[in-house]
Amino acid sequence: MSLTINTTINGQAVSGSAEASTSLLEFLRDTLEYKGTKLCCNTGECGACTIIYNGKPINSCVTMAADANGAQITTIEGLADGDKLHPVQQAFIDTGAVQCGYCTPGYIISVKALLDRTTKPTPEDIEEAVSGNICRCTGYNKIVDAIQLAANRIAGRA
């Protein structure tokens, strides 16, 4: 049974068809060709597929594509302004918070969602925001450094 999905991705109205069993991640990657969001565990445990859904970070692999109907979605492709990277993306580069890079889009989306809520995150806020994202290169300290740097830059403190 094919469903028609009308959604908004990175500010643009988009349509496509999906099965009821299609995950939002599969819909984004395979139907709409937004390949920046990554498939990894496919069980909602690793955070590589994190997107912002109506303002909140969620795992797109365990969300129905059908739930994208009428929703506002932000993916990693929506962060940069032309050639100018988003401050969170730039901070990940500047602190060396990227190793193999596979988890990075999910991290950056989780961090963007955090910094949309507050530009003065506490260490507890940072831990909570990215505790659902796994980095198997174990570069966690540099990721935390990147989050602080991005927060400071967004708030005009650095």
Binding site: M1, L3, E19, A20, S21, S23, N42, T43, G44, E45, G47, T50, Y53, K56, P57, I58, N59, C61, V62, T63, M64, A66, D67, S110, E128, A129, S131, G132, N133
Partner: protein, 289 residues
Amino acid sequence: MDYFEPKTLSEALALLETYGAAAKVIAGGTDVMVDIKYKEEPGCLVNIKKIPGLDAIRENGGSLRVGPLVTIRDIETSSIVRERLPVFWESCHQFASLQIRNTATVGGNICRASPSGETLAPLLVLEAKAKLAFATGEKTVPFTSFFQGPGKSSAGVNGLLTEIDVPYPAAGSKGVYLKHAVRGAMDIAMVGVAVLVTPDAAKSGLQGVRIGLGAVAPTPIRATKTEAMLRGKPLTAALVKEAAQMAASESSPISDQRSSAENRRWIVEALTRRGLQQSWRAATGKEVA
């Protein structure tokens, strides 16, 4: 696979009546989508998120009424829950990751009826009730008799949970929810223990005590023999030790990839001991003597 987004409760109930065991109710999807990927597709998926009125938290005299579509994050960020039902709040705070808490619903955690469901031991000790709707009518079931086995509950295949009624504990009561898992975030509990103590007026003995155990039996359970043994007594270190051992003996855990059964019993003992000590301290300002 057929797919429906009913707009009313009666429409949803009629679908469940028609499709019976072939129908699967979906809300957040954090469990059901994994089943669809890795187990099997149901004959029919009934997405209940478009039904209005099921996503509110509201105070009702001496209890809090929580809609089944309320997300775990909604509960975690509710000041009323944090203030009036801290044991319930704690289980939602320790629940998976932020991404999952933003999506998963409390009704899904309950109706999944997993022995390790994070919110279940707290709901048992708070003596919360489930309001269920069927095509034939409504009924209210206390959570102490709601869970019938892994994945099985009083909602059956054609009922829907429409509200959770969580009474505020008696004045002076204090409780804790303690979870043992390898990772802080994301991990499923090896053991979860919820404790609620009500001291007597002199704060010298236990007027009442409730102990809920998660992930150590086919359903979440109350340690009722331990509770009965403790009731009315002054809480001493020797009594806490005896109670913790008794709670472990009331559990009937399995061995799986997360833990052996023997290890789970030890953890039940340790968490029950800590839970009683911490709750007693919070309720009386005194250490267990």
